[in-house]
């Protein structure tokens, strides 16, 4: 069942690739849309069959692939991966729908988009470390080409920078996976937390450090973030939507699944530092966004800040904060995608994204009133105003993290205030006031321009009013994620001959941080 989510887009790519010459762009687009739409519908079907009360992997698939390498085709879906797979399906469909129908080199463009969709879905579903790494790396190729071929004027620089950063990220992740397998003496790259948690804490720190930097580049966290604004600015709108909406989530997903999942003891010890890192990212991203005069760069830096909330919630590692991390991933995916779509429409119609040039676009007759209204809704959601999904996720993050890391959470709350500052600056400059001279005669905005952002706006409000539709899929998984791992770790430690000496050092850090037990007291 899960394989269909990977193979349907690949089949679509084959159909586009071997389509009759000359390929009409509209036909290629239709095939891509039907393929990703079909994948998304299939994800909804899986959602309907998903047992929300079960914590473990569901719809599991196993196939031995390259046995000597320890590579198996293991797929599984739980409350952590399901929302992200659904988000990937939805946003890829929206990205294809929002793209220009007369895109140049349509065959390659849609093949790459479908490959990207398949590889990201596969990475979210992979239950073998090497399989995850394989798809994590495969996803780089289409994205690199999508930025490098269909990007802006400085696309070569942006694409190369993206590739270098993400390749380094991949090397670190591979090193960590190889290290885990070699040090534990495992016969395969299967996802087995039992073995990694039996490793000495020093080795765990080393491996977790590699994962933190590797996934930290992908998220991205300060100071590994500089590839993101460049990539966003140079990428076309659909690629920006996918980059912010889905691809950054691979980093946070990896941190939760592999960082926290494989090394919970080391995670518990490093948690205060991770929370401080998260607060730094949130504030740095917010301050950087304030300083920007390019709308797209501002939204890109806001993404860096908002992804920091996920790390904060993950660092706290309480059932509530882990649920908040999943919510924040989905919420940021929807809101950032919506904002990038709207910035794309503004750029397409006015030819500029500069805050120094644009003004008065909310003008009801000669401006972009509906786009402006949607943008106001989007920035309100991003600032965490009640009634929208941004509020639910940020409130859950703060509620879940505050009892554990009060200072870092308060600093992150300042980041939310700063979000309102830079987005109000954006809205005030671009949409209010008298329509500026250079953007007087704008081309008409069609429903095809508005519809993708309207769908996302509806979801942002709907999930804000009814957050249960989002959280009930992940609640059981996040509630049992850490306790299950810690129980495994305790068993593993109990089996060691030098258990006593280990317990003196790290056994106490196995106490789950909760509202009553702060890490400072337990670690």
């Amino acid at each position: 069942m899960l394989s269909a989510l990977i193979w349907i887009p690949l089949l679509g790519a084959l159909l586009v690739g071997f389509g009759r010459e000359p390929l009409i762009p509209a036909r290629a687009r239709l095939i891509a849309l039907l393929t990703t739409g079909g994948t998304f519908v299939w994800t909804i079907v899986l959602c309907s069959q998903f047992d929300v009360g079960q914590a473990g992997m569901q719809f599991s698939e196993h196939l031995t692939w390259i046995e000597p390498l320890g590579l198996t085709y293991d797929l599984g879906m739980d409350g952590l991966s399901l929302p992200l797979v659904a988000l990937n399906g939805l946003l890829t469909t929206i990205a294809i729908a929002s793209g220009t129908p007369s895109v140049s080199r349509p065959r390659l463009y849609y093949i790459l988009l479908l490959l990207l969709n398949a590889s990201v879905t596969a990475a979210f579903l992979a239950q073998n470390l090497l399989l995850f790494f394989l798809f994590y790396e495969v996803e780089l190729i289409p994205l690199y080409l999508l930025i490098g071929i269909w990007g802006g004027a400085n696309r070569g620089y942006a694409a190369t920078k993206f590739l270098i950063y993400t390749a380094i990220s991949g090397i670190l992740i591979l090193a960590a996976f190889l290290g885990s397998t070699l040090l534990t003496g495992a016969s395969s790259f299967g996802y087995e937390p039992l073995l990694t948690q039996a490793l000495p804490l020093g080795q765990q720190f080393f491996l977790l450090g590699a994962l933190l930097i590797g996934f930290g580049i992908k998220i991205p966290l300060v100071p590994f973030h500089t590839w993101l604004p460049d990539a966003h600015v140079e990428a076309s709108t659909p690629i920006s939507v996918l980059l912010a909406g889905v691809l950054l989530k691979l980093g946070t997903y990896g941190l939760l699944r592999f960082g926290l999942g494989l090394f919970p003891e080391a995670w518990a010890v490093l948690a205060p530092w991770l929370a401080s890192w998260a607060a730094l990212s949130v504030l740095y991203g917010a301050f950087m966004a304030i300083a920007q005069t390019d709308m797209k760069k501002m939204v890109a830096y806001s993404s860096i800040g908002h992804m920091g909330y996920v790390l904060l919630a993950a660092a706290a590692a309480t059932p509530l904060s882990l649920l908040a991390a999943v919510c924040q991933m989905v919420s940021h995916g929807l809101i950032a995608a919506m904002l990038f779509l709207l910035v794309g429409v503004v750029y397409q119609k006015t030819g500029t994204r500069s805050l120094k040039v644009l003004q008065g676009l909310l003008n009801p007759e000669r401006g972009l009133p509906l786009i402006g209204s949607l943008m106001i809704l989007g920035v309100m959601a991003s600032s965490g105003l009640p009634g929208m999904v941004g509020f639910v996720s940020e409130f859950l993050v703060f509620r879940g993290s505050f009892p554990i890391f009060p200072t870092q959470t308060l600093l992150s709350m300042v980041g939310t205030g700063l979000t309102a500052v830079y987005f109000l600056l954006l809205v005030n400059r671009v949409f209010f006031g008298r329509l500026s001279e250079p953007v007087q005669d704008l081309p008409p905005v069609y429903w095809s321009d508005r519809a993708p952002a309207m769908v996302l706006a509806a979801l942002v409000v709907l999930l804000g009013l009814q957050p249960n539709w989002l959280i009930h899929y992940s609640e059981t998984t996040t509630a049992t994620l850490l306790p299950a791992r810690l129980a495994i770790a305790q068993t593993a430690i109990g089996g060691q001959t030098n258990a006593q000496s280990r317990n003196n050092g790290i056994g106490t850090c196995l106490i789950i941080p909760s509202s009553d037990h702060r890490p400072s007291a337990t670690v």
Binding site: Y157, T160, P223, H225, F287, I290, A291
Partner: protein
């Protein structure tokens, strides 16, 4: 503009009545005690009540009463999109006391403080009377005496809170944002770009010597300052070799 006029009158009366009613009813017991414990605070409440009545009555007198001015002679009533919420809120304002009574949200009459009620009604009446009759000469709006001007400015600019806010918080945020931007551009990103360029220069010579045609492409890239060249070179160096 009958709808706007009615809405303004009801809203002003409702605002003043709400203010008064809160003193009468909501905090009647506390108010009675306040009268004994801190009479100066009662004075503040009465002055505020009188001033709000004065201001609202004065605005109503100046805007809605008197002879029409050139700009108000042909003032049309507002459109339905604005009239509907105005009329709805007028009705809600008028019905609020009844709704509160129905929901038993009002305290019993035994808690009614007669002295407080009398003083508040009196302050409201004085305020309304002053607003309706007192003519404020234009010369008064800007005194020629420096101390009065300072006081006037202090009050009219809300104790300069906005200016203070601008100097302290807004400037602080702007400075921090500029500093972060500078650090990001020249230190964080600058270091990455420097590493890339440095690796290019380090590898340029051997590339030209050993790889012939391919290396000349990269050598051209370095010469023209294209980042693509050093990027590919770095990727190749890290991944392939």
């Amino acid at each position: 503009m009958p709808v706007t006029t009615t809405a303004f009158v009801v809203a002003s009366a409702g605002f003043d009545r709400h203010f008064t009613a809160r003193r009468f009813l909501g905090t009647a017991a506390g108010y009675g005690r306040l009268l004994d414990d801190a009479p100066w605070l009662v004075g503040v409440v009465l002055v505020v009540n009188a001033l709000s009545a004065l201001n609202l009555t004065r605005v109503f007198r100046l805007v809605f009463l008197g002879a029409p001015q050139p700009k108000t002679r042909r003032a049309p009533e507002v459109g339905w999109a604005m009239a509907v919420p105005m009329v709805s809120l007028t009705i809600v304002t008028l019905l609020t006391p009844l709704m509160m009574q129905r929901l038993s949200l009002l305290p019993d009459w035994e808690y009614f403080n007669h002295t407080a009620a009398f003083l508040l009604v009196l302050s409201g009446v004085v305020g309304c009377w002053s607003g309706a009759t007192v003519y404020l000469h234009k010369a008064w709006s800007r005194s020629v005496h420096l101390p009065w001007r300072v006081l006037q400015d202090l009050l009219s600019y809300d104790f300069y809170i906005e200016r203070l806010y601008e100097i302290s918080l807004v400037n602080g945020v702007v400075l921090l944002a500029r500093f972060s931007n500078w650090c990001d551009r020249y230190i964080v990103d600058g270091m990455v770009n420097f590493l890339g360029i440095a690796s290019n220069f380090q590898r340029r010579e051997p590339e030209v010597q050993h790889h012939g045609a391919v290396s000349s492409l990269f050598a051209h890239d370095y010469g023209s300052g294209e980042p693509l060249g050093w990027g590919f070179d770095l990727v190749r160096m890290v991944i392939l070799e």
